[in-house]
Amino acid sequence: MPIEKPIDFSSMPDSRGHFGPYGGLFVSETLMEPLDELREAYEKYMQDESFLAELDADLANYVGRPSPVYHAERLSRENGGAQIYLKREDLNHTGAHKVNNTIGQALLAKRMGKKRIIAETGAGQHGVATATVAARLGLECVVYMGAVDIARQEANVYRMKLLGAKVESVESGSKTLKDALNEAMRDWVTHVDDTFYIIGTVAGPHPYPAMVRDFQAIIGREGRQQMLSQTGALPDALVACVGGGSNAIGLFYPFLNDERVKIYGVEAAGAGLDTDQHAAPLCAGTPGVLHGNRTYLMEDKNGQIIETHSISAGLDYPGVGPEHAWLKDIGRANYVAATDDEALAAFHTLTRVEGIIPALESSHAVAYALKLARQMDESQTILVNLSGRGDKDMHTVAALDGLKI
C-alpha cells in the first residue's frame, strides 16, 4: 500500500486561495485586480519586519495580549472528566477576538495608503472592532449592518457611532449579516480606489480566508505555548464555536500538524438541526458558492441562500470559512453543533461557577466542551476558545427571563 504523504497544513491555501475544492476567488471582474493588489500587499507585509513589529506592539499594548489561559478548575471538577482550560479572548480590548484581525487589516490599509475603511457586521462586534481601529488611525469608517440586526443590537450601533463610524442600515434581502456583506462588497466595487474592505471572518474571496486566519492565529500560537508551560503537554482537544469561523481557525491553525490533538468546531444548532431554525452549514448544509468562495452553505434545492437562526447573532451566518469546509472533508477537524438551549445553559453555568460571563457565541463552545469532557479522563485536557465576553448579550439573556434592561 502506498504511504500517503502527510498534509503540510501551513502550505494551505494554494496560490489562488484553494483549500482542496473550497475557497478560491468568485467575484465580479472589477474586484479581481484590487484583490490581487491586496494579496500582494499582505504577502509582502507579512514578511516585513517593521510591519510585524508594529503589529506586535499594538497587540501587546493596545489589545492587551497575550490573553491568559485559565484552568477552570471548579468547572472541571463539578462537570467531571477532562480538565477545561479557557483561552481568554474575552479579555481583549473591545471584548472579543475580532480586534486581532481588525488591527492587522487596518495597519495593512494604512501601509497601502487607503483612506477609507468599510466593514460588515452582524452582532456588531466586528463593526465595533473596526470602528475602534479606524478611530485610532484616523481613517474614515463605514459599517454596513442589516436593519434587523440594528434593531436587536442597539448598544453596539451606538458604540460604533461614538467611535466616529457611520453605520449604514441594509434593507435588502433578509436584512442581516449576509446582506450587510453583499452591501459592503457593492460599496467596495464602487469606491475601489481609496477604500479598504476589512472582512471580519475567514470567508470571502482569497486572500481574506488566509489573511484573517493568519491575523487570528496568534490565539493558537499563544495557547500552544501556554498549555505547554502550564501542563507540560499539548491539550488533548481544542473546542471553538464556528460562525464564519475566525476564532476557531485562529485557535486550530497552529495545532493542525499536531495529529494527536483532536479538534472540534461547534456550530449553532439553533432550535435543533432537525428543524429549519439553525445556522450549521457544516453539519447540515451543502457545498456551493457565496461571498467570493466555495464552501458549505445553508441553501435550498435551487441554490438560493436561506435564512439562518441562532440565539447568538455572531453565529447567524449561512456560510462558513472554506478552510473549515476542507478540514471537515479530510477529517482533520470534527464539526458538531450546540442548540440555543444548550448554549444558554452553558452561559449560566460558566457565569455561576467561574465568575466569567461568556458571549453567547462562545457559550456554544463551552456547551460542547462540557459534554466532551465528561467522556474523557480527568488527566486529559481541553482548551476552549472563550472568544468573547457576554456584556453585549445582557439584554438578550434578560429578555428570556422576562426582564427588560
Partner: protein, 268 residues
C-alpha cells in the same frame, strides 16, 4: 458557430450595432417574461439577456436586487428560467438568449446537467458575474461543446494581462463593464469607455458589448459609436417595477424604451 456568433455576423454585414436588453426572468411574475421577450425582439432587440434570480446579487444595484426579490417571491428557479427560454423558442428560433446571473444556482444543479438542460431549452450564452476565467475551466468545458458561449466581463480595473486572459476564455462576445460599480450606477464616462475599447480590441476579434449605467437613448447612442453592442438593464427593470401592479402594460412600455434606443443607435 453559435447563434450569438451568427447574429453578430449578420449585424456586421448590415453595419448595425447590437441592442441587448436585460430583464430579470419572472419579474414581477413568471407569466410576464416570455411575451416580454417577444415584444423586445419586435422593438429591435438583437440578443436577449435574461437575469436568473439569486438571493444574494452582490454585483447588482438596488433596482435589479428588487427584481430578483420579486421573482423569488414567486419561487422562480433556474429550471423555471430554462422553461421560459424553451417556451420562447417555440416561436423564435433565431434571437440569441444569454442567461446572466450568479454561479450558485448553476453549481447546485451541476455543470453537466445544467449544460444539457440549457442546450435543450435553447440557451446561447451564459454570464455568471461571480465566476472569473480562473475558476471557469470546468463550466466552460461543460457548456462550450453544446454551443453555449461563456461570456466574461472586462472591468475598468482589468489590466492588459487580465484582458488577454478573459478574451482567451470568452466566446460569443465580451462584455465591458463601463463603470466601476454596480448595475444601475450613474456615472458613465464615454471618453474613458472609448479608450478602454481600443485597448480591448488589441486582445480580441470578438465583438465587444458595453453595459452598466446606460440609462438613456443619448447614452446608448454615444456607446454605439465605440461598442459592437449596447446592453441596457436597470432602466428597463425600473420601468417594470413601476408597472408591477399592471403587468399588461409592461411589454408595450419596455418596447417603447427599446424603440427609442434602437432609433438613436441606428443613427450612428
Amino acid at each position: 458557430m453559435s447563434r450569438i456568433g451568427e447574429r453578430f455576423k449578420q449585424l456586421e454585414q448590415k453595419g448595425r450595432v447590437a441592442l441587448i436588453p436585460f430583464v430579470t426572468a419572472g419579474d414581477p411574475g413568471p407569466a410576464v417574461t416570455v411575451p416580454l421577450m417577444h415584444a423586445m425582439v419586435e422593438a429591435g432587440a438583437d440578443i436577449i439577456e435574461l437575469g436568473v434570480p439569486f438571493s444574494d446579487p452582490m454585483a447588482d444595484g438596488p433596482v435589479i436586487q428588487r427584481a430578483s426579490e420579486r421573482a423569488l417571491e414567486h419561487g422562480v428557479s433556474l429550471r423555471d428560467v430554462l422553461g421560459m427560454v424553451s417556451q420562447f423558442r417555440q416561436q423564435d428560433t433565431s434571437t440569441p438568449v444569454v442567461l446572466m446571473g450568479y454561479l450558485n444556482p448553476v453549481e447546485i444543479m451541476g455543470y453537466e446537467s445544467f449544460a444539457e438542460a440549457a442546450q435543450e431549452a435553447g440557451v446561447d450564452g451564459l454570464l455568471t458575474v461571480d465566476l472569473p476565467p480562473e475558476e471557469a475551466d470546468e463550466l466552460v468545458a461543460a457548456i462550450k461543446p453544446r454551443a453555449i458561449d461563456p461570456i466574461f466581463l472586462i472591468a475598468p480595473t482589468s489590466s492588459e494581462e487580465r484582458m488577454q486572459r478573459i478574451c482567451d476564455a470568452a466566446s460569443g462576445f465580451v462584455y465591458y463593464v463601463s463603470v466601476k460599480g454596480i448595475t444601475g450606477a450613474g456615472h458613465l464616462a464615454i471618453g474613458e469607455v472609448a479608450a478602454k475599447m481600443a485597448q480591448i480590441r488589441k486582445h480580441t476579434q470578438l465583438p465587444v458589448g458595453v453595459g452598466f449605467g446606460i440609462s438613456s437613448a443619448e447614452k446608448a447612442q454615444a456607446i454605439a459609436q465605440v461598442g459592437d453592442a449596447v446592453i441596457v438593464g436597470s432602466v428597463l427593470v425600473k420601468r417594470i417595477e413601476e408597472l408591477r401592479e399592471t403587468p399588461e402594460e409592461i411589454a408595450p412600455a419596455i418596447a417603447q424604451i427599446l424603440s427609442s434606443m434602437r432609433q438613436a443607435i441606428d443613427l450612428v
